[in-house]
């Protein structure tokens, strides 16, 4: 039996190669296109969040504590109380931000310390809250930030 001539096998070899080339091109272009479109979509999401002011403002939070931060000394310890509702999801992040802002002082989420930072969102002191936590006002730093001391 005579072997198949090169002229007969050449087109099938070529077509197999072209099919492989098409598969590879499709694989690569699909992967790259999905990756790029996904990144672009995520970028639009971020831009949308920015335009609707959905980004948590660390700088604006820090600005409220600016005056108080100037009085902070290393190795000092403060308690922390706020007028957030108990189930308010922003309560914990605000406590962390307060610690971040007032570092290197240590801030504990309790009213049991001799000196306690009070964070009022309304800007006006809630004396009922202070009395409930046995706190007396020491200094009002404005923007709802107050330093209080624990009273018996």
């Amino acid at each position: 039996m005579l072997p198949a001539s090169p002229a007969c096998t050449f087109p099938s070899v070529l077509s197999a190669k072209l099919i492989g080339l098409a598969r590879h091109k499709f694989a690569v272009i699909a992967l790259a296109a999905i990756a790029l479109c996904s990144t672009f979509w995520a970028l639009l999401d971020v831009l949308g969040a920015v335009s609707h002011n959905q980004i948590f403002g660390v700088a604006s939070f820090e600005n409220r504590f600016d005056e108080f931060r100037k009085t902070v000394r290393p190795h000092s310890v403060y308690g922390y109380v706020s007028d957030n509702a108990p189930n308010d999801p922003s309560a914990r992040p605000e406590f962390y931000l307060t610690q971040y802002t007032l570092a290197p002082a240590l801030v504990k989420s309790t009213a049991e310390e001799p000196l306690v930072i009070v964070n009022f969102h309304s800007g006006k002191p809630d004396y009922g809250l202070l009395r409930a936590n046995k706190l007396a006002l020491v200094q009002d730093f404005g923007n709802g930030v107050m330093l209080c001391r624990r009273v018996q």
Partner: protein, 489 residues
Amino acid sequence: MLFVCLAAIWLTGFGLVRWMFPRPLGWSLHNALLLSLGIGAGAGIASCLYFLSLVLAGPNFTVLASVTGGAAIAGLVFGLLTRRQGTLLAWAEGPDVPDVPWYFRGLFLLAIALAVTSFLVAVSNNPHGDQGAWSMWNLRARFLFRAGAFWRDAFSNDLGWSHPDYPLLLPGLVALCWKLAGQESTGAPIAIAFLFALATAGVLTGVLGVLRGKTPALVGGTLLLGTASYIALSAAEYGDVPLSFYILATLALLCLQDRHPEDLRFSALAGLMAGFAAWTTNEGIIFLAAVIVARVVATVRFRGRSGPTALAPEMLWLIAGLAAPLAVVILFKLRVGGASDFWSEKPALVLQHLADPGRWIVTAQGLVIVLFALGRFLISIVAVLALYWYLVRFKVQDSRDRAGLATAAIALGLTLAIRLLGDILFAGNLVIEIATSFERVVLQLWPAGVFLFFLASGPLQLTAAEKPAPRNKTSRKALKPSRRAAETH
């Protein structure tokens, strides 16, 4: 001044890696890879030196500046003045001739542009990073910078919610930059985050280029840069992206070691990178242990007859590389770091968690969901990679890569398994832990996973051009009869 600090840190690392793998200066894949590795090496060295200076001499500016400056000068002397010729790292020959198609280069450049734009938009609106950054990483840096002699307050148990047991590569680096610049700024953590993301993409693209060729390198790089949640995680200023760099660098260097078994410096540098992974986060410590086990198993099993004989010297160099950073980690854990919330759990509760099938099921479910939703791709990346595999297939093109592939697969699998086991045993609220950290844990391993995937995938060809036949008399003579036969028939 920040730029000068970062340049000094980078110069330290680049000098070291160039001293280990010298080539003439100039634009080449070899030097681009060294630039990328140098970022991570420099960051790790600078952070370790900062911590040691802090422990031994306190927050003394003169000491810190001298140590950092001395390291940079040493890097300059060793790295730039070396005249040795080392192992060359060049583009592997691929089937695409003469080069990768222009449109694919364009896609890669577009991926870079989109990634950089996404990063810049994210950090311009969130310069302090995400919650984890200002409640942990940058918080620690602030204590180190602001507290003066009371820098150990950064690890107070009163800050137990901020993981005071976590190693200090990232916060130490940020605090060092602030200290040398003389002021605190959001520029330092942003620049460091950007450099680590850039270096990760550089190492991935570079090493794939050496091992597989230009096309798989650009595909892998495009995929990593197109992972939206990875870029977002980088902009969040967490320690996960630096860790992912060190994991990728370790595994990539071990693969290069298999290609160049005579040059044991690859193992030494891999050990150094693994050590810096341990200095970055607690997951890095898990990875360090996993990669040692993986390397032993893979070398013995997949390197053939030369495996056992090659194992001892390679492991010695690997351990020599990781010894210094590991010593720093041990010093930190024993003398400085705070209590870990993991080990605070009662043994009875841990056993109860172990025996609770519900926790195992929830963890498995969480992992599956995270894998399918990974990266915020418009179509699940698992499905996309499965399609890619179907069209291109896996094929280990070079038998020398088997051990490296096995090392990577075993190390990544072990790291993930141990990390998840830790959550099952110790996490108080497993559901919250899954929701807040699972994706980050997987993203820590993502660049190495992409590397593993493209290392294992088959040869990739995007152009129809044939490679030119080798020009010699034998081949010309061999061609002639078949050409005559084709013309006759």
